[in-house]
Amino acid sequence: MTGFTRRQVLQQSALGFGSLAVAGLMAGPARGAVSGPLAPKQSHFPATAKRVVFLFMHGGVSHVDSFDPKPKLTEMNGQPLPFAKPKFEFAPTGNLLASPWKFQKYGQSGIEVSDLFPHIGQCIDEIAVIRSMNGGDFVSHGPALLNINTGSGVFARPCLGAWTLYGLGSENQNLPGFISLSPSLYHGGAQNYGSAFLPATFQGTRLGDGSTHFKEARLSSLSPGQAPELQRLQLDLLKRRNERHLASQGSDSALEARIDSFEMAFRMQAEAPEVMDISRESAATQSAYGIGVEPTDEFGRQCLFARRCLEAGVRFVQVNFSYPRNYWDAHGDLRNNHTSNAAKVDLPIAALLKDLKARGLLRDTLVVFGTEFGRTPAAQGNDGRDHHPHAFSVWMAGGGIRGGVTYGQTDEFGYYVAENKVTMPDFHATILHLLGLDHEKLTFRHAGRDYRLTDVHGHVVKDIVA
């Protein structure tokens, strides 16, 4: 091995933690010397986004009640859909149902957002709304979740975050490069943040789960088993043993990397809790995220935590609002379900956008708001909507996104995509593009074939790229 070993680099870059340390590590002479699968890598072409925060709304946010206004639904409330419903539906639905929410125009762009999301509405000029998402025929949560997260609703494939980490590495070797906050244990579970056939190094590190309040979330094995001084003594003993062993074996990068990994673990257990400790943020910041008050406390914590991770150099943070504690699946009781869920996430998400912007991070941080499918413009029962992968809305902001635009259209009822359909591979290709990755070149050889996140599909939605 020539040049510095990773161990030497990390020993020498005895810097503090946080964005400065990351900047130092990245900008200084150490750059490029960090080796191993998680070392930062060159993108295919200059990127506009260096990191991603994916706000995932589990259960299916109704597009016609949030970001895709349909006055025709109000006009024809209670009447049948005048054309055929899709071949694949989750359950039978009835007649058209007007949105219970009013839409307002926001910002310079005047894009309409419903009263569910007034705070996000105020940020609309940073946002590109895609109103023409199509999730294929995946009408059940499980396959649909896997589809948006991994690009396949059927087969075990690496997820978006794993592909991102595989493509770009991590900017902070003392933290996981890809963290998933409160993912659901259901509907694909770990497959939604897993690495499948990519090396396990690239899988997401789960923090908490959908069944537990985020306050209770702990990183597995992060708490030291004994006092740090004692652990240091123990590690020194281990290190001496391992180095004698290494000397007897001749050089072997695997053995060296193992020695490094303990040192890294030791630093991580000291430093990760610092990043995770949102009490270090000012009261004003916490309050801006809605922390300490209901109903925003939990999602506020998740969003602020995400910002601290991004700032510390984590490449991909997925913030899940997920089943069973949080769930947009409004088969009945649409009004209560969407009102209460939106109240939990609206303010924190807007706070995250504003905070990122204030810190100059929004420029190269891609914020994605997504859900596994929309909901039927026709009613299920009196006050419900069913799963609807045939047309729905997602949005992106920051990281090279043109703000204040909408892309694509649904028909006048919101049933089908009428213009500029965006498929899941298109959605993924666009995110990778913003990260400087060509989705056709980001491949991994497995079982005799080169796999891609987008399989053999995908077009970058250039119109929303600034």
């Binding site: 539906e89 989750f90 025929d137 059940s140 949560h141 499980g142 396959p143 896997l146 059927v154 075990a156 070797q173 003392n174 996981p176 244990l185 509907h187 694909g188 579970g189 770990a190 497959q191 897993g194 499948a196 056939f197 090396p199 396990a200 190094t201 590190t205 789960d209 069944s211 597995s220 094995s221 030291p224 088993g225 006092a227 740090p228 001084e229 004692l230 003594l233 123990q234 590690l235 003993l237 281990l238 043993r241 391992n242 004698r244 062993h245 290494l246 074996q249 001749g250 695997a254 193992r258 020695i259 990994s261 303990f262 673990a265 030791f266 991580m268 050889r445 079982a447 005799g448 074939r449």
Partner: protein, 1059 residues
């Protein structure tokens, strides 16, 4: 027309083309460009269709050729622009009538495309018409339908009497038994058979009345007739079509003329002008010819013996008679093929049929409805009668409908996929060649050879003019072979015994001990479980608990321990339920459990489209079988012919038909999908066992799913194996891959299993010996163990691979003997490849690489490896003295079941977190840990255990910080360290130095060095004196120090790696 063009070319005639070319350039090409090319040209291939060359048009898209040269009415392109048959193109508005006419004219004129050579035109294949199944009463067929009997509408129980067979044509011609109902009637009722000889589908059984019919309720011969008051509308020289789905057998005492299906009056009565009928009749005097029309006057007797092929098997028979007198102008078609009059057998009888005479006593009838008719014996599933000669497309469409329903197929090129053809390059790929008997090479240094495979190794080293690497010492070999064979390190006593054994058999004694150990199966069974993606939950939406999956896991472990021959092992997993029942309850039970192989994969239980969900399971089964057993990536061919390997989409659907004919689910009702779990009796006094295993279901031959889409179906593919293997074996470039009778009632799994587990299969034995080699050395002879195709790596030493495979076959697929060959070899004693760089030439590239002429010596070296997740956990338990060595059984299944919640009748594991306490406190070997898909326990997930969502042939070996965190902080590791320390202090007589010595012997199988003793003493002292302890009592500090020391041993590289 195309043939015509070819003839023109042969005759040397010029194209009569100028006017046509002008037509093309002025009218046709602009139209195509303007209205079609946006979606159907160049890379735009909606529906797989391009419309920018003649070849592309003839080739067509997902639904078949776009044009049939000369036949506009049958061309899909023309139908689409005319908005016929549910096709509507272009989507942005119908073409004008003039434009449509222009297109039709162009097709009619031979689809001339300037610049296209005649040769190119003749190469195309206009015969590739896809016909789709057609309901018998759909569209215009409804008006012609006179009678429609179907057995699948009966709601009655199996074995019930059928006195009335209701007519479904809407014309009210229900057939009834005639005895006691009609004057002179002798026909008894039929019997409803739910799983009949018609490939297991429902049918009405016709009794011959001879007492030979099993399952018939009626002692009388069965005869069913319609009322004469409602005669069919067929008169005079009328055309007609009769279709019957049946399986009839010959029987003793069969009448000379057996009436199967009769319209009119079969009795001639000696008057040539009088009684007439249209019928399907078996004529014994004519060597069982098929008689048609006229009755006993034998007006139309098809060739002698013509009914013979239709006996004793399920068939769809359609007879079509064109209008007109029987002689000369009338034609009879049997399933679309001209059957009479044939030059060699002219139709006899009258010139005309003046009239079909409807009888006064019975109308249209089946079997022995009348006293003078011959009885039939067998099953009839469906009967159709039309008063027209159906067009060939309609006839075929109806037959395909019946074919799908009855699991039958009509052997016509238009509907059945032709056997795939393979080119020379494909057939010459190394992996498909027969396994050669290669003698091991002669080498000068005989003394170096321990087992014959060493000859290959030594020859390779000598070729590089290198002396072989040195040997490892005995301790290193013992640790290596112990981990490799049983997944556990040697105990200090085992080390001592081996070192003390000075006999020449010392190594062999160790290997015998290890192979006889029950821990052997726990190690090697786990390798197999990696391949077959073993887990105890379904993944996907529900992630439901498969409570009895563990029985399959234990089956695999037991199979390795008992050294079940590998061919039997494969056959039992694929088709254990179909093997002949033995006298041994244990064997029968084992074989049923083995088919858990087909059950343990991921399943999408909440998928709305149940058929899609089933096909995805089939895909998973094909993927696993292909990669684990055959070393091929077959699943690629689901959507298209394999891009790199000689695997066609038809091969895929030949296999898919077999797997689709086996049912994992009890019922497929929405939200209540539950797989098969049932009890297997264990003999008198013994508790029956609950097992999870699939059941045979209706067998079927699938149609190719174009682009993997189940809504765009191509031709039928008879069930079977891989065409390329048959093609290479027979030397043919076009070879049937059928290994299954496509009409057999069983799924074909047993035939497939036997084909895979055959010594003649060139893949199976090679795949296995390569895997065993790879798992012993860390690198296979073929570096891509589940891909022996062209995208995999070629073998580093083909002769060695074939020698191992042929020896393996000779030994009767004896896996333990293969282990012996390998681990007792000199090659296996060589120092690991990382210890020196000698002989490590460039790694072979993954693609191609056939030009490589140097032998890659690294294939003959042991590679240093990290302990697998299971080995790590087991070794910690063993070292700490905490391992419970007894085999696991139902603990995992019962634990998961106990944690399950019940939602919508699906049993889901709720909150079985990766850090559940169970995983920390369980003391048995890791192979018995509960395996929940998408939620593996930390110890497994962090250390690269196989992800049970897919096939794992080579485990990753990652090194990440979270592993360090686990080893430093996880309660499991800390508990083992504490137990390890307590074990050291159990003998209070030991001095600290003796304890340190014992710790090293337990953890590393060797003594501590003086440096280590001194270093440890210093560490213990410094640790105990650390101010971090505050006021803690000395004894507590002392215990913590020893625990920390023990933990450092468990985390050390010497513990974690095998040399």
């Amino acid at each position: 027309m195309i043939r015509g063009l070819g003839i023109l070319a042969i005759l040397g005639l010029a194209w009569p083309a100028l006017a046509d070319e002008q037509h093309f350039e002025s009218k046709f090409r602009p139209l195509l460009i303007e209205r079609c090319h946006k979606c159907h040209a160049g890379k735009a291939m909606k529906g797989g269709l391009r419309l920018d060359s003649r070849e592309a048009l003839l080739k067509g898209g997902d639904t078949g050729p776009a044009i049939l040269s000369g036949k506009p009415d049958e061309s899909l392109l023309i139908q689409a622009v005319r908005h016929e048959n549910g096709l509507e193109m272009p989507p942005d508005g119908k073409l004008t009538a003039a434009q449509i006419d222009a297109l039709a004219q162009w097709v009619r004129d031979g689809a001339i495309w300037p610049g296209t050579t005649v040769a190119a035109a003749t190469e195309s294949n206009p015969g590739e018409v896809l016909t789709t199944p057609r309901l018998p009463n759909s569209g215009p067929l409804a008006g012609a339908l006179q009678l429609w009997l179907r057995a699948d509408t009966f709601q009655m129980a199996d074995g019930q009497s059928v006195p009335v067979w209701p007519d479904q044509s809407g014309r009210g011609r229900d057939l009834t038994a005639t005895k006691g109902v009609r004057e002179g009637g002798v026909g008894g009722p039929g019997t409803f058979i739910r799983h009949s000889t018609l490939v297991g589908r429902p049918a009405v059984r016709f009794s011959s009345g001879t007492g030979q019919n099993p399952g018939s309720v009626s002692a009388d011969p069965t005869g069913l007739a319609a009322s004469p008051g409602n005669p069919v509308d067929i008169r005079g020289d009328a055309a007609l079509t009769m279709t019957i789905v049946m399986n009839l057998s010959q029987f003793a005492g069969q009448h000379s003329h057996t009436t199967v299906f009769c319209v009119g009056n079969p009795a001639h009565g000696g008057d040539p002008g009088k009684p007439l009928a249209a019928l399907i009749e078996i004529d014994q005097p004519q060597q069982f010819s098929l008689d048609f029309a006229g009755g006993w006057g034998h007006d139309a007797i098809l060739a002698p013996g013509s009914f013979q092929p239709y006996f004793s098997k399920p068939v769809i028979v359609t007879i079509t008679k064109t209008p007109g007198p029987i002689k000369d102008t009338t034609r009879f078609y049997l399933n679309g093929k001209l059957a009479g009059p044939l030059p060699e057998h002219p139709v006899t009888g009258r010139d005309t049929i003046p009239d079909i005479q409807h009888r006064a006593d019975v109308g249209v009838f089946l079997g022995k409805a009348l006293g003078f008719c011959g009885a039939i014996q067998g099953d009839i599933g469906e009967v159709l009668l039309y008063n027209t000669a159906l067009s060939d497309a309609d006839r075929l469409g109806v037959e395909m409908y019946l074919g799908e329903k009855f699991g039958l197929w009509i052997d016509e090129e238009r509907t059945v996929a032709r056997p795939a053809t393979f080119n020379d390059a494909e057939k010459q790929h190394w992996a498909y060649q027969p396994i050669r008997e290669v003698p091991p090479p002669e080498v000068p240094n005989e003394a170096w050879i321990r087992t014959p495979l060493d000859r290959f190794t030594l020859a390779a080293w000598e070729k590089h003019r290198l002396a072989p690497a040195g040997d490892v010492d005995q301790r290193t070999w013992l640790r290596r072979v112990s981990y490799d064979l049983i997944g556990l390190p040697p105990t200090p006593a085992e080390v001592d015994t081996f070192l003390a054994d000075k006999s020449p058999q010392a190594y062999e004694t160790v290997v015998t001990r290890l192979l006889d150990s029950p821990h052997y199966g726990e190690r090697w069974g786990r390798h197999w479980l990696d391949l077959v993606r073993y887990a105890e939950s379904t993944a996907n939406d529900a992630n439901a608990v498969m409570r009895y999956a563990w029985r399959y896991r234990n089956y695999v472990i037991d199979a390795f321990n008992s050294n079940l021959p590998y061919d039997q092992f494969l056959i039992e997993q694929l088709a254990g339920d179909l093997l002949p029942t033995t006298d041994s309850v244990a064997v029968n039970t084992r074989r049923t459990i083995a088919t858990g192989y087909l059950m343990i994969g991921p399943k999408a239980l909440a998928e709305t489209d149940k058929e899609q969900s089933r096909l995805d399971i089939v895909d998973d089964q094909i993927d696993v079988t292909g990669r684990a057993m055959l070393g091929l990536t077959l699943a690629c061919a689901r959507c298209h012919d394999h891009k790199f390997d000689a695997v066609r989409a038809t091969d895929y659907y030949a296999l898919a038909g077999i797997f689709r004919s086996t049912e994992p689910f009890q019922n497929e009702a929405r939200n209540a999908t539950m797989w098969w779990e049932f009890t297997v009796p264990q003999g008198a006094g013994a508790e029956p066992l609950m097992v999870m295993a699939p059941k045979e279901t209706l067998s079927r031959n699938l149609r190719v799913h174009l682009r993997g889409n189940r809504f765009t179906l191509g031709k039928i593919v008879p069930r079977g194996g891989l065409g390329i293997v048959a093609a290479v074996a027979t030397g043919s470039d076009q070879s049937p891959s059928a290994i299954v009778d496509p009409h057999q009632m069983s799924s074909g799994r047993l035939e497939l299993a036997r084909w895979i587990a055959s010594p003649k299969n060139p893949l199976t034995a090679r795949v296995l010996v390569n895997r065993v080699w790879q798992l012993h050395f860390g690198k296979g002879i073929v570096g891509t163990p589940d891909n022996l195709g062209t995208r995999g790596e070629p073998p580093a030493d083909p002769a060695l691979l074939d020698w191992l495979a042929s020896q393996f076959l000779k030994s009767g697929w004896n896996v333990k003997q293969l282990h012996r060959q390998i681990v007792l070899s000199h090659t296996y004693r060589l120092q690991n490849a990382e210890s020196d760089r000698q002989g490590s030439v460039a790694e072979p590239t993954s693609a191609g690489g056939s030009s490589r002429d140097v032998t890659d010596l690294s294939a003959y070296r042991f590679h240093r490896r990290r302990l697998s997740a299971e080995e790590l956990r087991d070794a910690m338990l063993l070292t700490s003295g905490q391992l419970d060595p007894t085999p696991g059984s139902s603990e995992s299944g019962e634990f998961l079941f106990g944690k399950a919640e019940d939602i919508n009748s699906l049993i889901r594991p709720n909150r079985v977190g990766a850090d559940d306490e169970f995983y920390t406190t369980f003391r048995k070997r890791s192979v018995y840990l509960p395996i929940v898909r998408n939620m593996l326990p930390d110890v497994l997930a962090l250390f690269d255990a196989a992800d049970p969502n897919g096939v794992t042939a080579i485990r990753n070996e990652t090194t990440v910080a979270s592993q360090g965190l686990f080893l430093l902080n996880h309660p499991f590791v800390r508990q083992q360290a504490r137990a390890f320390a307590e074990r050291l202090s159990r003998d209070s007589q030991l001095t600290p130095e003796q304890r340190i010595e014992l710790a090293h012997r337990l953890a590393y199988g060797r003594s501590a060095t003086p440096v280590e003793v001194e270093e440890t003493n210093l560490f213990l002292k410094a640790f105990v004196e650390s101010p971090a302890f505050g006021e803690k009592p000395f004894a507590e500090r002392q215990a913590a120090a020893w625990q920390a020391f023990c933990q450092s041993l468990l985390c050390s590289n010497e513990f974690l790696y095998v040399n």
